[in-house]
């Protein structure tokens, strides 16, 4: 079975800075990581690979330095990596991104049986890209999977929505976006990292390779415009209690009681 995992390189949350002129997040010179939910998707793909021998391709669109995320995925156990990169892809919103990624997926041979994505990214948090790729490719999709396994050629997916647990059977090929409950990625071995950075090839596809027109991608191909980027004012002021633990606990309990968040009975129990 062939699995494609779409990943996105995102700024590590504590180092995020904004470009107020261009209304974008500054990515250059910032510590970047694989979007945590995409890492979960990759781990789920690698689990399927271990169980029943799949071929796992990681796919990302981004500037050349996104190579780091792909190589990290190779170190984790992916078999092939594709970087969709071209200066003309810059400024893409989720629609233009999904369009380019969908084209890249359809260029893979053979066409994948399963496409896995994280449910959303920590930087823009839209959750659009997975579903939009599925729409472009006309595939069945399930969002926010908490469990997946194969059963007689179709995929069994568990998904929590509106407080209910749905068990679904999905025919393949399909696209599934995953939630953090699905798995917890393990640690990379140093030898695998070394191998991933020496001698492994990364496929690089640009606008022409994907046979796309400039008007379909990047800023021009985007349906949305960011009007304003700002940090929302904090709603509530946090308070930090300092001191030795027993004393802090006492003060915390008093505080919570005074706010009627707990009552004395809770505190005693």
């Amino acid at each position: 079975m062939n699995i494609v995992v779409c990943i996105k390189q995102v700024p590590d949350a504590p180092t995020i800075r904004m470009d107020r002129e261009r209304m974008t997040i500054i990515r250059e010179g910032v510590e970047s990581i694989i979007n945590p939910l995409d890492a979960v998707a990759l781990d789920a793909a690698l689990t399927l690979k271990r169980k029943q021998g799949s071929r796992v391709t990681v796919l990302t669109m981004g500037p050349p330095q996104s190579e780091e995320a792909l190589r990290e995925a190779l170190a984790a156990g992916a078999d092939q990596a594709v970087l969709v990169t071209d200066p003309r892809f810059a400024g893409a919103d989720t629609l233009a991104t999904s369009h380019a990624l969908a084209r890249a997926v359809s260029r893979l041979e053979p066409f994948p049986d399963l496409i896995l994505c994280g449910k959303q990214s920590i930087d823009s948090d839209t959750g659009h890209v997975g579903p939009q790729i599925a729409e472009e490719l006309d595939l069945p999709q399930v969002c926010g999977a908490t469990e997946i396994h194969l059963e007689e050629g179709s995929l069994m997916v568990k998904q929590v929505s509106d407080g209910f647990l749905n068990s679904l059977r999905v025919s393949l090929p399909a696209l599934v976006t995953v939630s953090s409950d699905l798995s917890s990625p393990g640690y990379l071995s140093l030898g695998e990292i070394e191998s991933a950075f020496s001698g492994r090839q990364i496929l690089r596809w640009g606008l022409d390779d994907l046979q796309l027109r400039e008007s379909e991608v990047g800023f021009e191909g985007s349906a949305t415009r960011v009007l304003r980027l700002y940090r929302p004012p904090p709603k509530r002021k946090g308070e930090i209690l300092n001191g030795p633990s027993p004393e802090i606990v006492e003060r915390l309990i008093k505080k919570l009681e005074s706010l009627s968040i707990i009552d004395e009975e809770d505190a005693g129990a």
């Binding site: 990290e72 640690y187 990379l188 071995s189 140093l190 070394e194 950075f197």
Partner: protein, 384 residues
């Protein structure tokens, strides 16, 4: 000159940091309190190649460059000095010399289990009467039949309590001036090798440092590393690499001290303001940060030179000297920022303070490093 980490090094640092924060951080205080080294943790680290950092893949290692290896030690030490110490000593003065000076048979039989982390390594040079003056060692290796009989006492052996493979320096040819010593790879299960009680240390308590006593301990000739009389050469070459490891370790402790102190200075309020709003405290943090960054550049440069095969005795001594004095400074300053709380075991800074001190002592005291640096300088001067 490019001073930025490569993509590979960024992934390595991030990956080791995550393991250290998720797996080691919770154990670090208990390891220190109980003076225990958790075997299960070592097993996990072995599976991630932490015991074969620079050893090539064909011998079971990860095949990293020296700068990446230093980053691994730095990140482990940032969470636990004792774990960083274990990995540093095992890699840089036990596994690396066996790789560098060992023959094909020794690489197969002794190095591979070390690189896979099945056998933890030690470097047995120090003796009761031979510390800074390593040439004063009294342990003897007397030729007998097809091997040698070792007799003597080695002390302060890092990793001693959990070791499986020990590099032992012994007096072998007393008549020859600079070629009196030889090195032997001694498996811990050999008859005649006895491990003494684990030392009750001030810091690095999670590392089982103990004496190793040799009483008519027979080792076959195939366990001799290098030629007879190469002991001093192997010791000096190993220590140049070892100092990069200890420098990286000191760097990790210093960084940890800055990290917790910056956090504390933001959280702790006095006179109605957080400590970090006071110029005096800002100055302390800034000085720590400057020294740490300077240490990092020195240690990485020495590592880079070693990786390129350039002479690096002076540079690794400089890195080790400056980073270890920085670790002590950063831990002391950080403890001062923490005030009375820093003096309790409720905060990790007191552990960093105790751990940092030994960096100025082992693998060559600061005084010895200054001697090594001065000698190199004067020798360079002589040439010009």
């Amino acid at each position: 000159m490019n001073l930025e980490p490569t993509m590979k090094q960024s992934v390595i640092r991030r990956s080791v940091r995550r393991f250290a924060e998720e797996k080691i951080a919770l154990l670090a205080a208990a390891m220190d309190a109980k003076a225990e080294f958790p075997r299960a943790l070592a097993g996990e680290m072995a599976s991630l190649d932490y015991f074969g950092l620079e050893i090539p893949k064909e011998h079971g290692g990860a095949g990293l460059d020296t700068v990446s290896a230093a980053m691994v030690i730095e990140e482990l030490s940032r969470v636990s000095g004792a774990v960083g110490l274990c990995v540093s000593v095992h890699n840089s003065v036990a596994a690396s010399p066996v790789h560098e000076f060992g023959n094909a048979h020794q690489r197969k039989v002794f190095l591979e289990p070390m690189a896979r982390g099945e056998k933890i390594g030690t470097f047995c040079l120090t003796e009761p009467n031979a510390g800074s003056d390593a040439s004063a060692i009294e342990t003897t290796a007397v030729k007998t039949g097809d091997g040698y009989l070792l007799n003597g006492n080695k002390i302060f052996v890092t990793n001693g309590g959990v070791s499986g493979m020990n590099l032992v320096f012994a007096l072998n040819r007393p008549a020859e001036e600079r070629k009196r010593y030889s090195v032997f790879i001694v498996e811990s299960e050999r008859a005649g090798l006895e491990k003494g009680p684990v030392e009750d240390l001030m810091g690095m308590r999670g590392n089982p440092v103990c004496p190793l006593v040799f009483h008519d301990c027979y080792v076959p000739s195939e366990n001799r590393l290098g030629e007879e009389g190469q002991g001093l050469k192997i010791a000096l070459a190993s220590l140049s690499g070892g100092r990069i490891g200890i420098g990286a370790q000191a760097l990790g402790i210093a960084q940890a001290s800055l990290d917790v102190s910056g956090k504390y200075a933001r959280e702790r309020y006095q006179f109605g303001r957080p400590l970090c709003a006071f110029g005096g405290v800002q100055g302390l943090l800034a000085d720590m940060a400057v020294r740490i960054e300077a240490s990092r550049l020195l240690v990485y440069r020495a590592a880079s030179m070693r990786h390129q095969g350039l002479p690096h005795t002076k540079e690794s001594a400089m890195g080790k000297l400056f980073a270890s004095e920085t670790a002590v400074h950063a831990a002391r300053t950080g403890l001062q920022i923490h005030g009375g709380y820093g003096y309790t075991k409720a905060y990790p800074i007191e552990r960093y303070y105790r751990d940092a001190k030994v960096c100025e002592i082992y693998e060559g005291t600061s005084e010895i490093q200054r001697m090594v640096i001065a000698r190199s300088l004067l020798a360079e001067k002589g040439k010009s």
